[in-house]
Symmetry: C2
Subunit: 208 residues, 2 copies
DNA sequence: GTCTATACCGTGATAGAC
DNA sequence: GTCTATCACGGTATAGAC
């Protein structure tokens, strides 16, 4: 915050490194040894900043959940027709996924083995439920197809949206083409969110 | 195979148990101790049947991949209009996911830390590529929307389809209602595959 | 085919010097 | 704030008796 060059770690900067490794090897597949090598400091130095592996996980999923729940309080999510709110939340969820990619990635992969993980799963279900309620309202308005259960529709919608974490890679900061195997959006920037919404709501087929 | 009651383990029956635990705790989060307790035999007895944890993983993802690649050789996937073949493969993928749920679940969660995992990832990409080619053909026919890159469309389609492993639970054998938190399809049986196809290709919105 | 006992190593975490 | 040294534990895997 104060110094220009951060040469020493804070819990924040350490988190950045840790989340990257967690996403690479999986949380359970990551040892403190792995983290220490990635951070360039010794194992014991890590314990100077955080209480252990699980605190890093807690901080990471917290950040992801804050981003997602924040959407539900935005004007576009609370005002207007249900169908418009649904599309808004969908679009914003894609945007939050892109903006907080590593944190959300970790959140979506949590299994529930520890207390922090179970808490994360519970809050995720809460978020899904809130969105499912929105879908139900839009269906009641006659704006979403009546032949499909809206809980199922919500699951499939999130399945599509959340899959972003498996393949989306942010454009590199220096205009260089990203050749990391997983290509980046290739849609020009925020266009991706719009594409996802159109595909989810209007379908893959040629518009009739 | 020969005896009616299997009281002793074979690699096959052991695999059934192991895959369940892997999916529950994550592969890396599962120790041989966990497996031995779930199987009701000692750790060392497991090594009598399989060479170790990774062989169990290899067998599991193999089975999943066989199921998926099998689809591409079925008549419905090789004959007819591209758009029809795409819908067929999509529907069948859902069905294979349901039929081989635990195995495919494990496949879809593989991270790439070991050789077996990297091989699985590679074959998955191969399958995705084959389907992406089908989508491109259907787009060239003018049957899929021209405003979306078909690689992106394939990813989102698989995102939706593959999400099944996160929430679909097979109906219980004894007709009892499934109250396991994650409700089962609730769509009557094979209807689910049809619903996914309709949602993916025609969208969530009311048909115009 | 299953067991107990054990080898051996990597794990998360701590102590204490600098 | 970082290090080296060390601990107790749990991990995979093996040996050999029954």
């Amino acid at each position: 915050m104060t110094t220009a060059k951060r040469d020493t770690y804070t819990p924040e900067t350490l988190l950045t490194v840790a989340v990257r490794v967690f996403n690479d090897r999986g949380y359970d597949g990551t040892s403190m040894e792995h983290l220490s090598r990635a951070a360039g400091i010794s194992k014991s130095s890590i314990y100077h900043h955080v209480s252990g592996k699980e605190e890093l996980l807690r901080r990471a999923v917290s950040r992801a959940l804050d981003g997602l729940f924040g959407i539900l309080d935005e004007p576009g999510a609370v005002r207007g027709q249900a169908i418009e709110r649904v599309e808004y939340v969908t679009r914003r969820t894609v945007e939050v996924l892109m903006a907080e990619l590593p944190y959300v990635t970790l959140l979506l992969r949590v299994r529930g083995n520890t207390k922090a993980e179970r808490w994360a799963l519970e809050r995720r279900r809460e978020f899904d439920q809130r969105v499912a309620d929105l879908l139900k309202a839009a269906a009641a308005d006659g704006d979403l197809r009546a032949d499909v259960d809206m809980r199922l529709a919500t699951r499939l919608l999130f399945g599509m949206v959340n899959s972003l974490v498996e393949w989306y890679r942010p454009p590199s900061a220096d205009g260089t083409a990203d050749e990391s195997g997983h290509p980046d959006g290739s849609d020009g920037g925020d266009q991706l969110a719009e594409t996802v919404v159109r595909l989810a709501f209007d379908g893959l087929r040629t518009s009739r």
